[in-house]
């Protein structure tokens, strides 16, 4: 008996024949006909015309036939809603069937029929099935709630199914528990603010028990759900970890990866000196290595995840280099991923082995793989200084092979090596020049031109070489054109006598004959520089360049932390946050790693956050010794404070741009790439940052005023004409609605041995910044600046080092923007918004305290849904309500609401009663506290009444201050 024959009937009049067969009296014939219908449906033929006939076959005791009819129904019910009603009776009847398999089948299928009228009928049977005596029916019903919620969320809430679903978490059958957890997790994703998955120690305990007993898939659901929980303290965290670790030995890789996710996340909370912490680290390595013996597709998923884990916690796999060696038969996607991890694990200890491997790979067949291997050799040179020489000689060997793409790739990486170790390997330049003619890729050509320009004084025929490129100037790609322009200007500054003609030629090509604005502008800037002040031009163009850092390809830390929370999922495979590839609101909330013990009270729920800290004694600035110690730690970190580098500020710029709403646009999927530029692709941009103070990168800087001061300070010698350009940039670069108070004096020069600090706070595109002006009023030069905050109420802490890149000369002022994060240690301050700061320089450590507006902490997604607002308003006890008067505001309610929105105070609803506008507003703080407000505005009355309700009433006062500030400025 073969069913394949059903696939082959393609006669005309087929539908008509099928109709006759479906209505046949013979059961066998009917079944045959339905099979034919399903086969046609599979290959994409439209058989919806047979709907009534197929539905007629539904009333049968033959289960196989019934399933086929159901399959048909699921596919076509939506296109024939009226006729689908015909099926309802059978469903309802089947839900009462004595056979549990049939009951479950009915409830399972009904949930898949997305017709409103049918969903109404579904409620009663579903309610019964959720309480069915048979676990098979209950587990099916649990999933059905999620299906129904997808069709009509309101209905599910109104019918109270969510509560029933919650009860199922305590079910005696592990599979029911697992499915209920899966359904609840899914529903909770589309209600980010609801406390649906009310995870508390009791439910966690239930889940952990079910974990031991349910199927492999159920274990995955439960582990993925557990990963969303934030333990109260490190002890709870440890006990959960202990109960999850056995899962690392499961045969199912997905169970293992989900367990790894839970452990990686909860490990954050464990104190590092704990013995258990070390044990746990050791336990993680073997299962990760084992994943590499799975099927290739799973290996790929595992490798993408290991890539993240290695960046987060390099210590776990540092001894496992060998397992990442590429096998000859690995699929190409596995090879490429392994290569990436090999570079990340490369260290002085294993570099010899790694290099030998890489050299081996560079002779393989696959072009992409070979290129990556060559690039990897260059990265090793940059990463492990001791190996640089060997890497260079390996690269030279590879150039000798004359394989075109190998040569080009090698030249690109050698350029990076030059940037890391200037004036060390110039002896190879001659060899490189020999291969000039074979370069046909823009990146390689640009790299070669850069090298020629950079070392023009040592290459006798540099002018000839560059001139040869100039002939086809307009056929080159922009990258090459820009590079050529810069290189010739460099050459001119080094050998002005012979090259005057050349430089004029290139400047006119760039400015007059090109329609590329970047090229034209760079041409003009050089031109003006050269004509105004050649000496200054020399200082700018030939200035010493920052060394490239070894880890430019790392994923940006906040993204990395988010991805760690998504281990095992698609996000971790793409290395992108879910919002980059998931439509709609589902699953787009950003996940965060929990904070380490001690600061654990920064807390998810506002109650814990507040009551936990309110008993804490009022903070005093710790003794100088403590803080000094902390600051010393700060220095030990690989901070960029001592190495002048424009790069971090550029990265900030990129982040800022992206934060500003671009996320929500479809197709912005290159986030990762933008934030972690490869060493070779971004050099021209950074190069210029160093050359002329960042002006050509204006595009990036426009949206990111933060980048401006840093970039400026890097080129102090640029005066005159270029100054206007910066002013222009600064003017355009303040588009956000956030009100920024003018800078106030934080630290007078008297108290700080001549250092004067004034500043203000701002929130730009979701990023909190502290804008500081540092003025040197002393006689000597100040260097080595660093900053640190004392614990504070909202965990504010610097998210990057203080970017003072050049020494501060007497009477000089530098503007710095310090990005702040809110994940620092928490301690309640008096007043609440007080911030104690320590600034260090080469002279001493200075302390001051300042107060920030609370609106700094109002987050962008603070708009509550109406219902939630209503419920929350009622829920908060009346004692927590505070009333304030805002006087002398001459705005109507709409203007006020617009203005407030700029500071993330969102108006949810407006009601007008008796010429009085009532605005209902919500605010969310960075630590998850919600503030609800009602603002009454009477037409013609400049005084507003403001009622604020919040579970943490302490903040009301400060929220009121923000309203005042925003409305009056």
């Amino acid at each position: 008996m073969t069913d394949s024959k059903y696939f082959t009937t393609t006669k005309k009049g087929e539908i008509f024949e099928l109709k006759a067969e479906l209505n046949s009296d013979k059961k066998e014939k009917k079944k045959e006909a339905v099979k034919k219908v399903i086969a046609s449906m599979t290959v994409g033929k439209d058989v919806s015309a047979l709907f009534p006939d197929v539905v007629n076959c539904m009333q049968t005791d033959n289960l196989e036939l019934k399933k086929l009819v159901y399959l048909y129904l699921m596919n076509y019910a939506k296109s024939q809603p009226d006729m689908a009603i015909m099926a309802v009776n059978t469903f309802v009847k089947d839900c009462e069937d004595p056979n549990p398999l049939i009951r479950a089948l009915a409830v399972r299928t009904m949930g898949c029929i997305r017709v409103d009228k049918i969903t109404e009928y579904l409620c009663e049977p579903l309610r019964k099935c959720l309480k069915d005596e048979d676990p098979y029916v209950r587990k099916t019903a649990a999933v059905c709630v999620a299906k129904l919620h997808d069709i009509n969320a309101q209905l599910v809430e109104d019918q109270g199914f969510l509560d029933t679903l919650k009860d199922l978490i305590s079910d005696s059958n592990p599979m029911v528990v697992a499915n209920a957890v899966a359904a609840l997790s899914e529903i909770a994703e589309s209600h980010p603010n609801s406390n649906l998955l009310d995870l508390n120690p009791q439910t966690i305990n239930k889940l952990l028990t079910a974990l031991n007993e349910c199927t492999e898939w159920g274990q995955i659901f439960i582990l993925d759900c557990l990963a969303n929980y934030t333990p109260r303290d490190d002890r709870e965290s440890q006990s959960i970890c202990e109960r999850v670790t056995p899962r690392l030995s499961h045969a199912n890789s997905a169970v293992v990866l989900s367990a790894v996710k839970v452990l990686m996340k909860f490990m954050e909370m464990l104190p590092k000196d704990l013995d258990y912490y070390g044990t746990l680290l050791k336990k993680l390595a073997p299962p990760l290595v084992t994943l590499l013996s799975a099927e290739p597709e799973l290996q790929y998923v595992a490798l993408r995840n290991i890539n993240l884990i290695v960046q987060k916690r390099p210590e776990i796999l540092k001894h496992e280099m060998k397992v990442f060696f590429v096998k000859y038969n690995d699929p190409i996607y596995v090879k490429l991923e392994k290569l990436d991890i090999m570079i990340r694990l490369a260290s002085q200890a294993n570099i010899a082995q790694v290099l030998a491997e890489l050299k081996e790979y560079a002779t393989e067949v696959d072009v992409d793989f070979v290129r990556k291997a060559v690039r990897a050799i260059g990265r090793c040179a940059i990463k492990v200084e001791q190996s640089a020489e060997r890497c260079v000689s390996t690269l030279l060997d590879l150039i000798q092979t004359k394989v075109n793409y190998v040569v080009q790739e090698a030249i690109v990486v050698i350029k990076d090596i030059f940037r890391k170790y200037p004036n060390k390997y110039e002896s190879v330049i001659a060899t490189l020049c020999e291969n000039l003619d074979s370069l046909d890729e823009p990146e390689a050509r640009a790299a070669m031109i850069w090298i020629v320009g950079e070392y023009a004084e040592r290459i006798d025929n540099a002018d000839e070489l560059l001139e040869s490129f100039l002939e086809g100037f307009h056929d080159e790609s922009t990258q090459v054109q820009l590079q050529l322009l810069t290189a010739i200007v460099k050459l001119f500054l080094k050998k002005p006598t012979e090259t005057q003609e050349l430089v004029q030629q290139v400047l006119s090509l760039a400015t007059q004959d090109s329609d590329n604005p970047d090229l034209r502008d760079r041409g003009y800037i050089y031109w003006r520089l050269l004509s105004t002040d050649p000496v200054a031009a020399k200082e700018v163009v030939l200035a010493e360049k920052p060394l490239i850092s070894e880890e430019t390809d790392l994923i940006e830390p906040t993204l990395l932390d988010e991805l760690i929370c998504h281990i095992g999922t698609l996000a971790s495979v793409y290395h992108k946050p879910p919002s980059a590839f998931v439509e709609g609101s589902r699953g787009v909330q950003h996940k965060r790693l929990p904070a380490r013990a001690g600061s654990g009270e920064s807390a998810e729920s506002p109650e814990v956050g507040q009551s936990g800290t309110s008993e804490a004694p009022p903070a005093v600035i710790p003794s100088q010794g403590d803080l000094l110690g902390d600051l010393l730690n700060l220095d030990l970190a690989p901070a960029t404070t001592t190495v002048p580098s424009v790069q971090p500020s550029m990265q900030m710029g990129a982040m800022d741009l992206l934060g500003g709403g671009l996320d929500s646009l479809p197709g912005v999927s290159h986030r990762t790439e933008m934030q972690s530029p490869q060493p070779s692709s971004d050099y021209s941009e950074r190069e210029l940052g160093g050359d002329i103070g960042g002006s050509p990168s204006m595009g990036a800087a426009l949206g990111a005023p933060a980048a401006m001061p840093a970039a400026l300070s890097n080129a102090p010698a640029v005066g005159g004409g270029l100054g206007d350009l910066f002013d222009l940039g600064g003017g355009v670069g303040m588009p956000t609605g956030f009100y920024v108070a003018p800078k106030t004096l934080f630290l007078p020069a008297m108290k700080a041995k001549g250092l004067e600090i004034s500043g203000t706070f701002a929130r730009r595109g979701g990023i909190i910044q502290m804008d500081l002006s540092l003025t040197n009023k002393a006689m000597s030069v100040m260097t080595d600046f660093a900053i640190q905050f004392n614990r504070n109420s909202f965990g504010l802490a610097p998210a990057g080092p203080l970017q003072v890149l050049t020494p501060l000369t007497p009477n000089q002022t530098i503007d710095v923007s310090l990005p702040l994060g809110t994940t620092g240690p928490v301690m309640k301050m008096e007043p609440l918004n007080n911030l104690q700061v320590a600034v260090k320089n080469n002279i001493d450590v200075f302390y001051f305290s300042c107060q920030y507006p609370l609106s700094l902490l109002f987050v962008e997604d603070g708009k509550m849904e109406r219902q939630v607002f209503l419920a929350t308003w009622k829920d908060i006890p009346n004692d927590n309500e505070a009333q304030f008067q805002i006087k002398d505001v001459h705005l109507n309610s709409d203007a006020a609401s617009n203005k407030l929105q700029g500071s993330n105070i969102f108006t949810i609803a407006k009601r007008t009663v008796d010429a009085q506008d009532m605005l209902y507003q919500s605010i969310k703080l960075t630590n998850g506290i919600w503030v609800l407000a009602e603002m009454r505005v009477q037409t013609g009355n400049p005084n507003y009444t403001l009622s604020i309700k919040c579970r943490a009433p302490e903040v009301s006062q400060f929220v009121y201050q923000c309203y005042e500030l925003v409305l009056k400025n």
């Binding site: 073969t2 394949s4 696939f7 599979t42 994409g44 033959n62 196989e64 399933k67 086929l68 399959l71 004595p98 056979n99 549990p100 398999l101 949930g111 898949c112 029916v137 587990k139 099916t140 999933v143 997808d150 592990p174 599979m175 029911v176 199927t215 898939w217 995955i220 659901f221 109960r243 030995s249 499961h250 045969a251 293992v256 990866l257 989900s258 073997p286 084992t290 013996s293 597709e297 799973l298 998923v301 060998k322 397992v323 096998k327 000859y328 038969n329 190409i332 996607y333 082995q353 081996e360 002779t363 393989e364 092979t401 095992g568 698609l570 590839f581 998931v582 439509e583 589902r586 699953g587």
Partner: protein
């Protein structure tokens, strides 16, 4: 979760299409065909994102299985599920081929309905599925039978049904190891590991409780501390260090974690009890010593020696050495001491086969390879020399110490069970660079 599941033949025609979520439309079926199956290039990733829809695929012979989603699903789970799906189909109708899929499409739809609900994988153990998804229909069942099915499908022991009876209680244990090696031309071990599996075939009555023991270093050291010193000293030498192991879902993992004891109620019939990996003290059954010499531009001289490195009383079988040759080879002359060697132009390799070889022996092959002169600047990549073989021992040194069976309700004891143990070591990727 999984939004839809499609099966295609090699031409990209849809054989099975099941949609679970509303966000997946019919156009997804075509998107995958056009962008992946019909794309001319090699597959660059098993996960493809086309217009915000993610496609996961695996290939079995020339059949493509693709799972589709628009959400941030657990990617590892989706692949595990696809493999599982293949296992289930194989268990039902044998090889996954276009013909078999077409012949069983009704069954496949029925299975898909059962093992995936709204995109969430449900119980997919073949043992359990076979009790109620049959092509015969299930109407003849009594109420007890029905509830037994449902409790098994959802229960804690979903992999085994109650009431199994055998006249003869018997079990077979196969320790199957594949030994992997990458060696430098100079004979330095670059990497070596054994990945092993313990496969069990059980024909036992009732719900037997089993306990499996092997010469795991951690267990033996632990016992050695408390036990007699004499015994510990002896077994200490023979114990092996297991880097990592994973178990079938029947094994109680929490018990393994706390006591390192492997206890379980086995599924009926054949299944994989555990997988493990070792990297220390591996017995490498063969050593390959290559010597490649380029004589001028048109000639290569190759000499390869293989040495067997195990007890002389044991016999290795199915030995095959594969020596790659350059693409521009025009002719090959081979001389070998033992077995048969042939130049296979289509595979660009000399294949040397030896049927049997005892331990501590040595054999040699030498070949002269004539090359056509070419202008190609690209050097020959010199792929490694690979080897295949089978040996009757476990290269990791793993030994089964016991497998105890307890069934309290039925009247058979551990002694009545007939047990068989077999060790097979095979070559995995066993390569020597030349």
């Amino acid at each position: 979760m999984i939004g839809g599941l499609f099966i295609y033949n090699h031409k990209g025609e849809v054989l099975i299409s099941r949609v679970y979520r509303d966000d997946i439309g019919r156009n997804a079926v075509d998107a995958f065909r056009v962008n992946v199956i019909h794309a001319r290039q090699q597959v660059r990733s098993p996960v493809t994102n086309i217009a915000r829809t993610s496609f996961f695929h695996v290939k079995r012979s020339n059949i493509w299985l693709a799972a589709v989603t628009k959400q941030n699903v657990n990617a590892a789970m989706v692949f595990e599920f696809l493999y599982k799906m293949c296992d289930v189909m194989t268990a039902y109708f044998g090889k996954i081929s276009e013909e078999n899929i077409k012949n069983n499409f009704v069954l496949i739809y029925e299975l898909l309905d059962e093992i995936l609900d709204f995109g969430y994988p449900q119980n997919s153990e073949t043992g359990a599925l076979k009790t109620f998804i049959t092509q015969q229909g299930i109407k003849g069942q009594t109420k007890e039978e029905q509830s037994q099915i449902t409790s098994q499908v959802t229960g804690q022991i979903g992999w085994r049904r109650e009431g199994i009876k055998y006249r003869r209680n018997e079990l077979f244990l196969d320790v199957l190891e594949s030994v992997n090696l990458l060696m430098s031309p100079q004979g330095q071990v670059l990497s070596a590991h054994v990945s092993g599996r313990v496969v069990m075939k059980s024909y036992l009555s009732g719900m037997p409780e089993c306990k499996f023991g092997m010469n795991d270093k951690i267990v033996i050291d632990k016992q050695g501390k408390g036990g007699t010193t004499d015994d510990a000293g002896k077994s200490g030498k023979q114990s092996i260090a297991i880097d990592d192991c994973t178990f079938h879902q029947c094994v109680r993992l929490s018990k393994f974690d706390s006591e390192r004891s492997i206890s379980f109620i086995p599924p009926d019939g054949e299944y994989e009890l555990m997988r493990y990996r070792t990297t220390k003290d591996i017995i490498l059954p063969f050593r390959v010593i290559p010597l490649v010499r380029e004589v001028g531009r048109t000639k290569l001289e190759v000499k390869v020696v293989i040495k067997s490195n195990f007890k002389p009383s044991l016999l290795a079988q199915k030995i095959e050495v594969r020596i790659p040759t350059p693409l521009n080879t025009s002719g090959v002359q081979v001389i070998c001491m033992k077995g048969k060697a042939k130049y296979k132009a289509s595979e660009n390799a000399i294949v040397w086969k030896i049927k049997r070889m005892a331990g501590m022996k040595e054999s040699q092959i030498s070949a002269e390879i004539e090359l056509l002169p070419t202008n190609d600047k690209k050097k020959w990549a010199r792929p490694p020399i690979s080897m295949n073989f089978e040996v009757p021992f476990a290269p990791s040194g793993l030994k089964v110490r016991y497998l105890k069976v307890f069934e309290s309700k039925l009247n058979y004891s551990d002694h009545d069970v007939i047990k068989w143990v077999r060790y097979i070591g095979r070559s995995g990727i066993y390569e020597t660079r030349c």
